[in-house]
Symmetry: C2
Subunit: 435 residues, 2 copies
Amino acid sequence: MREPSVQPRVIIIGGGFGGLYAAKALASHPVAVTLIDRKNHHTFQPLLYQVALSVLSPGEIASPLRRILRRAHNIRVILGEVISFDTQARRVLLRDTSSLPYDYLIVAAGARHDYFGNDEWEAAAPGLKTIEDAVQIRRQLLLAFECAERTAILTGHRKPPTFAVIGGGPTGVELAGAIADLARLVLAKDFKTIDTRKARVLLFEGASRVLFTYTKQSSRRAAEQLSELGVEVHVDSRVTAVEPGRIRVKDAWIPVDVALWATGVAASPLGRALGVETDPAGRVKIEADLSVPGHPEIFVIGDMATLVDDTGRQVPGLAAAATQQGQTAAQNVLCDLRGAKRKRYRYHDRGIMATIGHYRAVAQFGSREFSGIFAWLLWSLVHVFLLIGFRNRVTVMAQWIWAFLTNSGSSPLITEYQSPDAENADPPATPSELA
Amino acid sequence: MREPSVQPRVIIIGGGFGGLYAAKALASHPVAVTLIDRKNHHTFQPLLYQVALSVLSPGEIASPLRRILRRAHNIRVILGEVISFDTQARRVLLRDTSSLPYDYLIVAAGARHDYFGNDEWEAAAPGLKTIEDAVQIRRQLLLAFECAERTAILTGHRKPPTFAVIGGGPTGVELAGAIADLARLVLAKDFKTIDTRKARVLLFEGASRVLFTYTKQSSRRAAEQLSELGVEVHVDSRVTAVEPGRIRVKDAWIPVDVALWATGVAASPLGRALGVETDPAGRVKIEADLSVPGHPEIFVIGDMATLVDDTGRQVPGLAAAATQQGQTAAQNVLCDLRGAKRKRYRYHDRGIMATIGHYRAVAQFGSREFSGIFAWLLWSLVHVFLLIGFRNRVTVMAQWIWAFLTNSGSSPLITEYQSPDAENADPPATPSELA
């Protein structure tokens, strides 16, 4: 970086879609950028569930942030955790008690799952937001089959596992479909004592239909395609309690081997740490230029922000919106430097799509709707080309073609550490001692 | 499996090279085989260090055991931990208190690192035996660079990290060379504030030369090639204590950011659990037919066993020897069934080789010795084709060609969980809060 002291200092918090695309848009411009993230990598979240289902491996959907930004000489990357701000002195405060000054701040720390005030449910029904979540969920899914096989061999009692996905949004639908595929196709020939195809996959949605943000027709097609895969879809079925080994749906307890949480989103607590107005989900109410009211030097973007744009529509919590907002926030910083008027952000709808297992999907582009194998091919094409990094693109394509030809996932590896607690648990309740 | 009750029951413990090749040799024969392992996958250990150095990802050197053996209808796989034996009743005892009967038992549970009675050193200087070890070591190596970069940005104090590899055998030499490559080539352009090429890599060997089991000429060439990469090689330098952040060599404490343990091997405690004679390292003294004295129905093979074969040579602790022994043990089971005389095992030397970073290696085939890029090409060729599974072979080849062309590793991802302890540690001593 040349003469950093005379260039405006821009701090970006978070290396997700919003933060990464803000950084890319600032590359080679006369600003000194510092990107701070708690992870060393960007995660391509739309394909996380494929890591959880062992179709892809973590390296195929994640790239180190410094590798992505290595050619941008005005951008440096810090692996660290921001815990608060001094908006008067214009400094961000890190967990290790150090702090960094900024002239512009772009906060893009994303969201995590919300358990409606029942944080203890998380241990029994993990959500899927990070690579670590995906590896942990993969481990739970595979261990459930391993345990059932072991019990069948040792006791003669054959009982394939039961899986519950809580939440019928795109993530829940994709998870349920992919678990059904795992049981029906990927693992069927690997297990010789249990019949993995008899595993039950239950999907619970509190609203009256799955994919509630899609059209009714897409919802219906999604539910039909899930049923074709053997997924038992329950709508109007709010989950009211979660415990290890069982969940309560309305008033009935249902025994399950693995429960996954795919509903409820809470913005990063950094929004509230800014000391500005937030909605009940912790999202910061931002201006049309994506800045925070009263602080034109602070931008909040992506899942942390809430905005009704000039078209009168609530900007959705999608990777596409975060990407666009990152670019707009960066452009608005550059507008200031040039003395130009800032841009007002408007969401450009690129369509929405969700896959449902092998060859099935629903997709909506404006008023056009697709489902079935055509939607699935569209989905595959779009996601391969969206993936960051040429190398990942080629590898993922190769993986998919292979999986397509052989009906097998990549490597269903169980590689996680045992947590010290799990190690001492009773064998039947938690199979962790096996790993 | 057809009529399992009338077929002899063979239990194999361990899915490493010995156990896996014993299972393969028993496939489709009239025996009912049960393979038990604590992991669900076979690990191609010779390439583990490449996972630690983020050249390869875990899925590229590991395959699920049930996937490898899916076509063998007489073999079933149990994910479980054997803790002891009842050799009178001929049963193996599992941790979950269940037990399984056998007619033949093949014990191939391998070895782990030995800290010479100082097990507390393991936390400060981990060894490399499993995928989990490799991911953990990768995390430590990358975090050391991340920490140095962060400190440089926040305090202006530039100090690239220091790495110590303890043990100058093949694993130590490969690790040291690969760490030097990581610092010199892979990460050099990713870090903009510190100069990763200035990282120090120290190799400590207690004996008078590295690669002590190789010829003196190979040892000298290995030491020269390590020096070319900037590795500081210290022979006659026994490490006498290990603490977080420093190691004691002879009488001097040396500060290090990451220490890795690559010396000392202790056989699995299952050898002693058999109640038969073992050597000080816990290895079972076996007969020429690989069975245990007094128990012709029990075979112990691989790193758990010690044997001087008919050529008068101690069988070395190599993957090649374990593979051969697995096949011989299986053949001897089948000899019994046919009423034929058992085979006496003799080690077939297929050569030994060790890589030293990019383009450098030493190799010995009988009396022929090679070093430099020719040895490295030989090494690459041999290891790609040894890798289990067609798919891994192609992927690894593609990875290597890519790494060869671009001098980059795959994806230096830090993806490990924080241990609950590390989370509360002080930031400067352990960088775990960053991950």
